[in-house]
Amino acid sequence: MIVEHEGGCNTMLDNAHHYFDVITVLAQKDFKVRYRNSVLGFLWSLLNPLAYMLILTLVFSLMLRVNIPNYTAWVLLGILIWRFFSIGTGQGMVSMLGNASLVTKVYLPRQLIVLSNNLANLIGATLEFVALLPLLAVLGVNLTAYALYLPAVLLCEFLLIFGVSLTLSSLNMRYRDFNQVWDIVLQLGFFLTPIFYDPNLVPARYQSIYSLNPVTRLIESTRTIFLRNGLSSLYDNAVILSSIVLLLLLGLLVFGRLEKRFAEEI
């Protein structure tokens, strides 16, 4: 048992300031490191989704003739939301392994390491959306005031990613296999999420389970905001918010239980 006598309010405030600064510098660090050593830097974060958009448009709109109005913009929104989730959880999962000295050589609440990494990805995803907004306009999307709800969607997705990352990163400390398993889950997720196909094509008897995927609800919310010029449905919000609460609770619980041995397992 470890008892720490804190000097009351002052020290708590001191700690809060300290942690805030730590999160800031670690998030900045993760963000900078991602684009160092590459000539095109942040441009890659735009070229990658654009390439996917072109490929999916070519295959599904031109060759398979999927009948969705403004398919190119529709698919781009799906890709951007999915990308944030897959990169965010994938990197969040290994964030502590990449910062081993912060786990083994100094005391910090280790959740901060995961949180900073997720924050760096939130900033990245936000910049991707902002940079590609003009393209959406060129593709014929009518940008209205509803677009101002995008930050709320991204914030929800960030919280979702934080919850998932907490669970994954702590499990991955014990069994490095989870990294491989999650890769496969993400590949499966790419097809179980309506990124390039109409979610209504899923047979009715599977709809009730299928539509509980929070990433699907985030994608649908984003499409409602941009393409249908409306607010995301009550159902979308209910699924998203309850997933956030559940996954955050699970993440904090699993992380808290496994954290005690992190310094020995890394």
Partner: protein, 185 residues
């Protein structure tokens, strides 16, 4: 009240007789248990019933051969690890200098690394930005302040880390901040 109070602390590590890292290893291990073989490991007690106290202003040096538990004890006090038994009480806050250059990243510049390390050691970001130039100067690395850390020699990297560590410590003491009451090296 002592600044550090260590009461009957025990810490063990497992020395496995077989290596289990992946799920497959564990499945194989579980199967061999079913066959009657036991998952075997030895407990290695790095620390047994350690008890001591340190008052404000006191210092304590611990010497011993490799693997005798010096770092383990420091890591327990720094809260990086948890003891199996016993209690550790600390009053105020702790600076652990178990290693120099915590959080250093080769792709960040000298100045960027100084900011990260200084903040982790407990300085405010605003404070750290003001001090970066003098830290880099003290490490005699002014010419290289915008070079990536990985392009520096290992000696230069240690110099930078050391310079940040002592400057942050000096600053935290000067401001009589409640953040630092004990330090372990």
């Amino acid at each position: 009240m002592a600044v550090v109070e260590v009461q009957d602390v025990w810490k063990s590590f497992r020395i496995p007789h077989e290596r289990r890292l992946t799920v497959l290893d564990h499945i194989a291990g579980a199967l061999s248990v079913l066959e009657g073989r036991r998952y075997s490991y030895e407990d290695f007690w790095a620390l047994k019933e350690i008890t001591f106290g340190l008052e404000h202003g006191e210092s304590l040096g611990i010497i011993g051969p490799n693997g005798s538990g010096k770092s383990t004890l420091l890591k327990l006090i720094a809260r990086v690890m948890r003891p199996d038994k016993g209690t550790i009480e600390t009053d105020g806050s702790m600076a652990s200098v178990l290693e120099l250059g915590i959080g250093f990243h080769g792709d960040l510049t000298v100045k960027e690394n100084a900011l990260v390390y200084g903040v982790i050691m407990g300085l405010r970001r605003s404070e750290m930005r003001k001090r970066t130039d003098s830290i880099v100067e003290f490490a005699a690395l002014t010419r290289f302040k915008d070079a990536k850390l990985k392009s520096l020699s290992s000696g230069m990297q240690v110099r930078l880390a050391f310079s940040i560590a002592i400057q942050t410590e000096a600053s935290l003491h000067k401001h009589a901040s409640p953040r630092r009451d004990a330090a372990c090296f």
